[in-house]
């Protein structure tokens, strides 16, 4: 086997492994959100939630997912408070996204708290996850 062919195999193998991890993690989570009462998750509902404005009770400022992550999930975002760069959310350009179920749950919990002022419902989590996966 030539070096370049070996490399191609390695890259293909790694890509397949990453895709497999993503699919497994997201499927598990969606199943979990379904068991908790969510149903018929759609890209459209996730998109709507992503763009929706929520008023922060304390500061009165308007918050939404896109504020930090931008409207284009393939673009690099920026933390609204610290200004730190946030890697793209779309798995199509950032294969690390959605590959780790615990990480997804941790950030959904934190970011729903900041953006919506509360935890997201299983329905909301399922919709937004379905939308992110499609990007």
């Amino acid at each position: 086997m030539t070096a370049s062919r070996a490399l191609a195999r390695l890259v293909l193998g790694a890509t397949l492994a990453a895709t497999g991890a993503l699919a497994a993690a997201v499927d598990d989570l969606l199943q979990q959100f379904h068991a908790q009462g969510g149903h018929d998750f759609t890209v459209a509902a996730g998109e709507k939630l992503w763009q929706q404005d929520f008023k922060d009770a304390k500061s009165g400022e308007s918050r939404r997912c896109a504020l930090c992550h931008t409207n284009d999930l393939r673009a690099t975002g920026k933390h609204a408070v610290t200004g730190k760069a946030i890697k793209p959310m779309a798995p199509s350009v950032n294969p690390e996204r959605l590959a780790d179920a615990a990480k997804v749950e941790k950030w959904l919990e934190r970011n729903c708290k900041w953006t919506l002022g509360r935890s997201c419902t299983p329905q909301e989590k399922g919709d937004v996850l379905t939308m992110i996966r499609s990007r």
């Binding site: 500061s59 933390h79 610290t82 200004g83 730190k84 941790k106 934190r110």
Partner: protein
């Protein structure tokens, strides 16, 4: 206000003088080395050196992750306690470098700074940039990104020679 007040300019000058006069006999503060800490906390802001706050402050910060300066930084209990342990064990009160000593000397007995910029020594060094009237460059929204001005902050080096803010920034251009 377009121009900086005399008071702010004075603060800026004092800042530069302090930085220039700070003893640099030692290597600076410890660069954060704990992988969990760097990964979890560094996701949103600079992973600050543990030697920039006393242990009591780190316990305070890590005990309120549900409301971390207005944001939820909630972690699972095992990760939280591992990071809290690392920060407290390597805090300024256990450190032997001039910056950590100056930090500890500036804190009143019983005072537990809630954040690094509440440490009197650090607040005085950053008085100009922390002033709401600051309109110079750089213009950070918060002081969570040390590396914007301190080019070698990630290595724990805050010495004057690696400090990249020039006179023009302090003139408010």
């Amino acid at each position: 206000m377009k121009t900086l007040s005399h008071r702010t300019l004075l603060a800026a000058c004092v800042t530069v003088a302090c930085v220039a006069a700070a003893p640099r006999a030692d290597a600076g503060v410890l660069a954060p080395s704990n992988a969990t800490y760097v990964k979890e906390c560094g996701a949103c802001h600079s992973a600050f050196s543990p030697q920039l706050l006393p242990a009591a402050s780190w316990h305070r910060v890590m005990g309120h992750l549900d409301d971390h300066f207005g944001d939820s930084a909630k972690l699972d209990p095992a990760t939280q306690s591992a990071i809290e342990g690392y920060l407290a064990a390597n805090a300024a009160d256990h450190a032997d470098n001039s910056a950590s000593r100056a930090i500890m000397d500036s804190i009143r007995p019983g005072q537990v700074p809630a954040r690094i910029t509440e440490v009197p020594y650090i607040a005085s060094l950053h008085a100009a940039v922390l002033d709401p009237r600051w309109n110079g460059r750089p213009h950070p929204k918060t002081l969570t990104e040390c590396g914007v001005c301190h080019r070698r902050a990630a290595e724990g080096d805050f010495a004057a020679k690696t400090f990249s803010v020039n006179d023009e920034a302090f003139r408010g251009k």
